[in-house]
């Protein structure tokens, strides 16, 4: 069997195993959350008047419900202001339509949790069978809280280096931070305006996120959702609009990893990346399936997989992506940043059934907290797979993909030619923050591959709307690269060689 066939069978098998397992989780989460009584917050001295600070009362209510054996704590329509609270075992916060939980704007109302060393509005640490459900809203009012925190730092009341003239992200509260919890249901709610990331699930197991809406662009580092070293996760039917990375899988612990994850039927809008593995990527990401993903008006890449801190990224299937008005489409990257000698791996990646349009203008223009103009000068960057010397990205299948580029690059503004000296001048940047734009000008307009092995492009079309001085594809130091039915369309291209090989072995174009 050819290597890519073998690996495709493996992927199909994996996909089936993940699906079966995730179905089991779904059943277990749905059944555990059915029993239990309903309790109403107003019976515990909680006021929905948009004024009263309810922190202690809500905590009293949660503790009570948990002690009674669990149930739903119901927030009827109203405006509930609170600081940090902890969800306890078997408790679900249920926000009825018209109920909003407002984060306090006083930084002192938030707890810096001693386990996770981070601030949040709603914590859960080592609790099982918990959830937040209903059609209500959680609004962190993060902009005001972040600015208030910054002012405390200026007055010397909290210590902070103020990198980039903002307080570091762990000193600003997220809306949700769950750690080491099992059987979690997040359903129906709207999550708005955090001061930092939005919702983190860290070393959790059996997590279902269903039908949520995220509006997260009130301050810097406003992610959509962060899944950190979690097992058995389903995220589906949800809409995300975030200033920073949207569907973000991270691995903070070198001994843990994100495993068995299904993301389906989601829409992502971001001033950073749509689907992202990393940036913190110590342990790894295994058996992840992403289906029917739409990415719109996104500043950086629709898909970024980064193994820059020693992560193992393995058995990933992305099937069905519509990426419209995004700055880049695919960026797979191995780096060597904080790995401390742990070997980064990226292999067995299938990305298929993708239609994408890359614009000439800034794709996230007009959104709050637009992505920063940087890494200039460069013309429109190609999608890329970029490993490091000694760390190849392996077994990547790109199938049924069409990407439309604006073309029209200006070689006097930025230029990277095809001579050995020019191609070798592209820096390796092992310790740099991974972004598709980090290398500034790249020598291709469609796809650039470097330090990779067993790469297959099958039924792939690259279209440039205007002439570009670069070829469509550059393969640099790649072993076994295969192009099957790959089409390039570029006006006035004539007989231009669109696929350029440099120091690549075993190449084929069919």
């Amino acid at each position: 069997m050819k290597p890519d066939m073998r690996f495709r069978r493996l992927q199909l098998l994996n996909d089936k195993i993940i699906m079966k397992r995730l179905l089991l989780i779904l059943v277990s989460i749905l059944t555990t959350s059915v029993y239990g009584k309903d309790y109403f917050v107003q019976d515990f001295g909680v006021y929905g008047d948009h004024v009263t600070l309810n922190t202690r009362s809500i905590q009293t209510a949660i503790d009570f419900v948990s002690k009674q054996g669990g149930g739903r704590l119901i927030f009827s329509p109203g405006n509930y202001v609170t600081g940090s609270v902890y969800i306890k075992a078997n408790v679900t916060l249920h926000l009825e339509a018209g109920a909003t939980i407002w984060g306090s704007t006083n930084p002192y109302d938030y707890i810096m949790d001693s386990t996770v060393k981070w601030k949040a509005l709603i914590f859960a640490i080592k609790q099982d069978n918990i959830g937040i459900t209903g059609a209500g809203i959680i609004d962190g009012r993060g902009f005001t809280t972040a600015i208030n925190t910054l002012n405390l730092a200026h007055r010397g009341l909290i210590e902070d280096e103020m990198k980039y003239d903002r307080v570091r992200e762990w000193k600003r509260p997220e809306n949700i931070y769950f750690r080491e919890c099992r059987n979690i249901k997040i359903e129906g709610i709207t999550l708005k305006n955090p001061a930092s990331w939005n919702q983190t699930y860290d070393q959790c197991q059996n997590l279902l996120v269903d039908n949520i809406t995220v509006d997260s662009k009130s301050y810097w580092n406003n992610d959509g959702i962060d899944i950190v070293d979690c097992k058995d996760v389903i995220i589906r039917n949800s809409y995300f609009d975030a200033a920073d990375d949207v569907l973000c899988l991270k691995s903070h612990d070198a001994t843990k990893l994100c495993e068995n994850i299904l993301i389906e039927n989601c829409v992502a809008r971001s001033s950073a990346n749509g689907l992202k593995f990393g940036t913190v990527s110590r342990g790894g990401f295994k058996n992840v399936t992403v289906k029917n993903l739409t990415v719109i008006d996104t500043y950086r890449s629709a898909i970024t997989f980064a193994a820059v801190d020693g992560a193992v990224i393995e058995n990933i299937l992305v099937d069905g992506v519509r990426s419209i008005n995004t700055g880049n489409v695919i960026f797979l990257r191995i780096g060597d940043r904080w790995g401390k000698g742990k070997k980064p791996v990226m292999k067995n990646i299938t990305i298929k059934n993708v239609y994408a349009e890359v614009p000439l203008q800034k794709p996230d223009k007009g959104y709050d907290y637009e992505g920063p103009v940087e890494d200039l000068p460069r013309n429109i960057s190609p999608s890329s797979i970029i490993g490091l010397p000694g760390y190849n990205i392996e077994n990547v299948l790109l199938e049924n993909i069409e990407i439309v580029y604006p073309g029209g690059s200006d070689s006097f503004y930025a230029y990277r030619g095809l001579t050995a000296a020019e191609l070798d001048s592209i820096p390796e940047m092992p310790t740099a923050y991974p972004e598709f734009s980090q290398f500034k000008e790249l020598p291709a307009w469609g796809f650039y591959v470097r330090h990779a092995k067993n790469i297959t492009f099958k039924n792939v079309t690259f279209r440039a709307n205007k002439p570009d001085y670069r070829p469509a594809i550059v393969s640099d130091k790649v072993d076994n690269i295969e192009f099957i039915n790959v089409k390039t369309e570029e006006p006035e291209a004539g007989n231009k060689q669109q696929i350029f090989f440099y120091k690549s072995n075993n190449t084929s174009i069919k």
Binding site: D165, Y369, P372, V373
Partner: protein, 246 residues
Amino acid sequence: MKGIRLSLFIAIFTITICQAQEYKASLFGCMSDGITNNTTSIQAAIDYIAEKGGGKLSFYVGRYLTGGLVLKSNVTIELHEGAILVASSNINDYILYENERALLFGNNLRNVSIIGKGVIEANPKQYFLTTNALKGKQQLQADYLALTPSLLTMINCSNVKVEGIIFQKSLQNAQKYISCNQIDLSNQIIRNNTIENSGSVVFQNTKSITLKNIFIDAKGQPIIKDQNSEIIMVENCINPKGKPVL
């Protein structure tokens, strides 16, 4: 000998103080959200730093919306990579001085620097939409409305350095230097390609100009210079076709 040493020490000390003192924009309440109008906060920062004998006002990544600002001697504005000064689209927000209107305005100054990999930009579409709407109201005079702001105008200034900045989407010419001396422009990207007939850099009666590594993509003439102006050095200043602009 001792005296010389001491004075040398004092001189170095003073220079270091003046140059190294950095003030972050957020200290003055500047917001990087692209929505808050920061005009008074940034102006307060510039005035404060000038009063302290000079220093550097640093903007880090973000969009800082502002109206017109008056620059001061010995005050450096640094726009770090990703920091953008976004010019207001309201004509009333700009500094009006005789026949000039500008976002950043300097008059009779010494030692002014604007440095960094950041951006200074306007929003021509929105600006002209609002200004034309005002024209239609027939209250404000036509000549008040007709004077379109530049991004940077310096009059009677000497020892001015503008290094590394990206000027884009200017409403008219991006930079104007009138009766100035010792103007040092380098490593700039100027994308002034939205407004018809707008050039990029204008020199009037200005001496000792050096221009180095400037990429200009302009609809109008890239560099406009009158007979009384004197450029002493030009190096690698090109248009999108790679042709020298001078």
